[in-house]
């Protein structure tokens, strides 16, 4: 298994490094959304005399800079590629291999995320310089952040896979994918920190898995979550991961049976 991963990792590295411009563009797209909402909430805080619900301008800056990191580590673009593989019949070549295609997905995911840290970290410093956030990391918070972000990454990955697999039922699942991202925008803490959402939306956000992908790891990292609550949260994240793994296995088995490649 380790050897398989070694080969897959080398392949991915070669593929990613081929297109530096494309990488730069993804970067730009990733930077834009946090900057938009950071600017919005900074304006609101300023007009309210310095803070919104106790969140100051510097807190928003810290939140959205952390969002850049967490958003990057939890994103999943396989949600798009699965559709392409199914529609074009490309999936066949993965199915005939002796390893499950998800392993290739996982490698691709990790290499890309680690590689892009080279760009994400300077971007975070740049934003920190431009927006002067309130940063007071304590060591405990960083320690708790590690399991939180790993589980959040797993959740983001699994969520994307489950939604992406819908491509087996409808060849154009773009709408479903966009709905997924819309829910992510509103209920994960992207458009605003969750405590600023109207009550009914916050209640919905607590039922759905999205907040465990984005807002929870951010709040843990910034030390906004008490240590005991962080442990409970990590437990809930773990439960969601198990649930999604089971769901992904079930859907995968149903989907592959439906798959028929053109000329296959």
């Amino acid at each position: 298994m380790i050897n398989i991963y070694k080969v897959l990792i080398r392949n991915e590295l070669l593929v990613e490094l081929q297109y530096p411009l494309a990488l730069a563009i993804w970067m730009l797209e990733k930077l834009l959304e946090p900057i938009i909402y950071l600017a919005v909430w900074t304006s609101v805080a300023v007009s309210q005399g310095g803070d919104v619900n106790g969140l100051t301008v510097a807190d928003f800056a810290a939140y959205y800079i952390a969002l850049l990191l967490v958003g990057h580590l939890t994103q999943n673009w396989h949600i798009w590629t699965i559709e392409w593989y199914v529609r074009e019949g490309q999936l066949s070549k993965y199915l005939v291999r002796p390893i499950h295609p998800i392993h290739e997905s996982i490698t691709n995911d990790w290499i890309y995320k680690l590689l892009m840290m080279v760009v994400i970290l300077p971007a975070m410093f740049l934003l920190a310089w431009l927006f002067s956030p309130s940063l007071q990391f304590d060591f405990g918070a960083i320690l708790r952040f590690i399991p939180a972000i790993c589980l959040a990454g797993a959740l983001g990955f699994l969520g994307g896979w489950v939604v992406g697999l819908s491509a087996f039922w409808t060849t154009r699942n773009g709408t479903l994918v966009q709905m997924y991202f819309l829910m992510m925008l509103f209920f994960s803490g992207r458009i605003a920190p969750l405590e600023l959402l109207p009550d009914f939306m916050r209640q919905i956000a607590f039922i759905l898995p999205f907040r465990w992908i984005i807002s929870f790891p951010i709040e843990v990292l910034l030390g906004w979550v008490a240590p005991q609550d962080a442990m409970v949260g990590i437990g809930i994240q773990f439960a969601w991961v198990v649930a999604l793994i089971l769901l992904a296995i079930a859907i995968w088995q149903m989907s592959v049976r439906r798959y028929s490649a053109v000329g296959g």
Binding site: L21, A22, I25, L28, E29, L32, E33, I35, I36, A39, V40, S43, V44, V46, S47, Q48, V52, N53, L130, F131, R172, G174, T175, Q178, M179, L182, L185, F186, I191, A192, L196, L197, P198, M201
Partner: protein, 260 residues
Amino acid sequence: MFFRLIGLSLKVNALSELEYRANFFLQIIQSALSLVIGIGGIAIIFGHTDSLNGWSANQLLIVIGVYTLIGGVISFIIRPSLGELMQAVRAGTLDFTLLKPQDAQFMVSIKKFAIWQILDIVLGLGIITIGVIQTATTIGIGQIFTFLLMLLAGGIIIYSFWLMLASTAFWLIKVDNILFIFESMYEAGRYPVTIYPTWLQFVLTFFVPIAFAITVPAQALIGQLPIETGILALGIAIAIFILSRLIWIWGLRHYSGASA
């Protein structure tokens, strides 16, 4: 003459698109999702304040309307036609257009319509109307006139900007990525550019001209447009239109066709 050609191109495109009705429903969902992002954002923000850097909720609604309208115009005609142009330059099929007796720039600019995107144009106009009706102050004829003028200027700026980007296809092989930058930057136009930090305002005004396309017309409609900005917008519209025309002609000279 020009209008008849536009009409013909529209008709041809409409007929071919009518075969794919499912696309219409996909477009409805698409437009609805975009609207939810815009309105939902306003709802959350104005739960905490009555003004975003001097803009009221209704004024922001007008911004969302202009964002949807201009976005609709881009994806209705500008992106499909100029996308086709880049394809044609790469494949060498631009010859067919160049042989026609009409002005080539005009012909490539009306080549293709994404018919269902008209939904966004209608929706945008609807949102603007709702925003205007809900704004307590009355809006005079003068404001509507400046609004239309600024909308026209913004449209010309966006079109010329796209034409310049598309014309790079005469020199570069693959320019889709550059256009993708524009598409993702366009998102920032959902909010008035005045809320962004100065450096970003500068980028959104001069590198990716969405300030002139979205924020300036919205300001004109609510009567908060400084006269200098309005004149600047008109001046830039004329200048960039001429510049893009020059680049287009220069690019055409560079074009050698497929068979040559």
